[in-house]
């Protein structure tokens, strides 16, 4: 079977993720992993999913979103709420985790759809600023949301705790205190499976009729519209898929900690994920995976520099952006790649 360039690259991405998972499992099994790195495995998975899902919006759809952490927040809060509420109904932890991830994804998708209705009517920087605004609104809402559960069902209130729970009821989301007492049921394997599912979904979407329509909208909206592509429909499709994945990532992330607060998912988190995406290359899923993993570990790896580590992180970020956009270096890499391609072509014709 001859593989075209795209599917070759997709299989390479799968292979790298699987190999990375196996290596980490072996290293962790041998007990060679430091505890701080071990604790970061699940967050790394969550950030990888966040990065590939944002890459769907920014790289494939071509719209800048500055509020991606908002969807992560929705997934985290709703998924964790589901996990706590179903603690007795579903005793099996992996099954409960699955349900929590699905609940997180569904709620994030619904919010993504509602946010998408106004957002996708705008273009460019105006769209970006409105996603930023929605991210901040979602943060404010969860900071002031009280949600409890008792024999009568679910009670919710905003601003003040007016849930009036019956005896035996439980307040799950406690406004600015967030959710406490979470059972840590997320694990590295679940994170790995989630990454694989997201990659499969994205690659199949991109390679489908719908995916080509989405990319046509990105490349030239007016031309796409004129050949009969329903722009809003396809924009919405990419946006909601991206939001759902971010929701699942949020649920995974939250279920790795014992407490979770809304302020964790602020503007800075959205920007962090955007940095992963741009660093890895727009539309390049493998790049996103590697960038998210590397940049999450980097501050940890710089621990020996103690207080200077974030400063070094910032300098690395600036220098890499300057280097990758330097015309001289770019030309050098292009010529290198050209030579490499020529060689591989020669090999192909020889065989």
């Amino acid at each position: 079977m001859r593989l075209n360039k795209t599917s070759k690259k997709n299989y390479l991405t799968y292979a790298i993720v699987i190999v990375a998972y196996v290596i980490m499992q072996i290293v962790a099994g041998g007990g060679h992993l430091s505890s701080s790195l071990k604790g970061m495995l699940v967050p790394i998975c969550a950030y990888v999913v966040m990065a590939v899902s944002l890459n769907l919006t920014v790289g494939i759809l071509g719209e800048l979103s500055l509020g991606h952490a908002g969807f992560m927040s929705v997934g985290a809060f709703m998924g964790t709420t589901a996990a706590i509420a179903l603690q007795n109904a579903i005793p099996s932890a992996p099954l409960r985790l699955t349900v929590a991830l699905i609940v997180g994804a569904v709620f994030a998708a619904i919010v993504g759809f509602l946010v998408g209705i106004p957002v996708l009517r705008l273009n460019g920087d105006y769209l970006a600023i409105v996603t930023l605004a929605f991210g901040e609104i979602i943060k404010s809402v969860f900071n002031n949301l009280y949600l409890g559960i008792d024999a009568n069902g679910i009670h919710m209130s905003l601003l003040e705790d007016k849930t009036n729970l019956l005896e035996g009821g439980k307040l799950i989301i406690a406004g600015p205190m967030g959710i406490g007492g979470i059972k840590k049921i997320a694990n590295f394997t679940a994170g790995f499976v989630l990454i694989m599912i997201c990659l499969v979904v994205i690659f199949h979407l991109v390679n489908s009729r719908q995916g080509r329509a989405i990319m046509a909208v990105r490349d030239n909206r007016i031309a796409a519209e004129s050949v009969g592509i329903n722009v809003t429909h396809y924009k919405m499709m990419a946006f909601v898929t991206s939001a759902a994945m971010a929701g699942a990532a949020g649920a995974l992330f939250a279920l790795n900690y014992s407490t979770i607060v809304a302020n964790k998912f602020d503007f800075n988190t959205s920007i962090l994920v955007l940095v992963f995406v741009v660093f890895g290359g727009l539309g390049n899923m493998l790049g996103s995976v590697i960038a998210a993993a590397a940049l999450t570990i980097l501050p940890e790896a710089l621990r020996s520099f103690a207080s200077y580590r974030m400063l070094i992180y910032a300098i690395v970020l600036i220098l890499v952006m300057l280097a990758t956009n330097n015309p001289t270096l770019k030309g050098f890499f292009a010529s290198l790649r050209g030579r490499f391609d020529k060689n591989s072509e020669k090999e192909a014709s020889a065989s």
């Binding site: 007016i222 920007i271 200077y308 300057l322």
Partner: protein, 300 residues
């Protein structure tokens, strides 16, 4: 009377947002980039003024001047080192670099000045009978106005007028407008685009320093992240009024400040940010290019 009080403090906060938003909007208009480090330049300005006045005991005017000079130079250096090499790069690459600069400034401030909050000195106060008076009262004490409020509003109006005159009358100002219309054509007309962009950054950063001093005079706690939230809000204000437009930044900033204070006073303190952003979304839905933004129809 309390409404009037809230309105005045809203206008005062709005004036600060407007001054910051002017920096955003000018840089955006010319370099077509979101300068995320702008909020952190505000913070640097405030720290410089704090160090000059509280630590070195210099008079407030010198402190403010020092802040303006340091920030102007800082803005030009940032532009030269981080943004200029990326003139030809995609706007997202520049955005990430700006975020890198923002992280850098915040963490450098964290190392230089520690995370402990500093209490900003009362710059605008006069001594009456040995006591420091920071404001005056009207209507038998029902209406209290601090000097900071008055100075902020006056400063904002002066800056607005001077900037409008500058961009419409002077050669440099005209060059700036030409660059924002069409860089290539401007270059063909003999305008030095690089210098013009550099001047724009200098003006924007100088304004940021003034905004930082005013902001910290009104809300006197100073930490390395002081600038980031006002920065985001001011950016929102710039978009609100139509990004790239100087009167738009002024109106957007004022409206945003007033809405924020009134929402805090009458609806809910915790939800005020959400309300501000909700108003922004509604405005952008009705007028997709902001209040004073030009609607550019795409030609096919």
């Amino acid at each position: 009377m309390s409404f009037l009080n809230f309105l005045i403090s809203g206008i005062s906060l709005g004036s600060i947002y407007a001054i910051i938003a002017l920096g955003y909007t000018m840089v955006y208009g010319i370099a077509k980039m979101l300068n995320f480090a702008h909020g952190d330049v505000i913070m640097v300005g405030a720290y410089v003024c704090f160090l000059a006045v509280s630590k070195s005991g210099l008079p407030p005017v010198v402190g403010i001047l020092a802040a303006v000079v340091v920030c102007t130079v800082l803005g030009m250096v940032i532009e030269k080192l981080a943004y200029k090499p990326l003139r030809q790069a995609t706007s997202l690459a520049v955005l990430i670099t700006a975020i890198g600069v923002s992280y850098f400034l915040q963490n450098a401030a964290l190392l230089l000045w520690t995370p402990n909050p500093k209490i900003f000195p009362a710059l605008f106060a006069r001594t009456v009978d040995g006591k420091k008076v920071t404001g005056f009262q009207l209507f038998d004490g029902q209406l209290r106005i601090s000097y900071v409020t008055v100075i902020t509003i006056i400063a904002c109006i002066i800056i607005m007028v001077v900037l409008t005159l500058f961009t419409s009358r002077t050669r440099t100002g005209k060059a700036m407008r030409a660059c924002s219309e069409d860089k290539g054509a401007a270059q063909l007309m003999g305008i030095n685009v690089d210098t013009t962009i550099s001047i724009t950054f200098a003006i924007g950063s100088g304004l940021a320093a003034i905004a930082g001093v005013l902001l910290c005079s009104a809300y006197p706690t100073l930490v390395p992240t002081t600038g980031s939230m006002p920065g985001i809000k001011a950016f929102t204000a710039a978009v609100f009024g139509g990004i790239g437009s100087i009167p738009g930044a002024f109106i957007g900033g004022l409206l945003l400040g007033v809405i924020e204070i009134l929402a805090k006073a009458y609806i809910s303190t915790q939800m005020s940010d959400a309300i501000v952003f909700l108003v922004l979304i509604i405005v952008l839905l009705v007028k997709p290019a902001g209040l004073l933004g030009k609607k550019i129809s795409e030609k096919v």
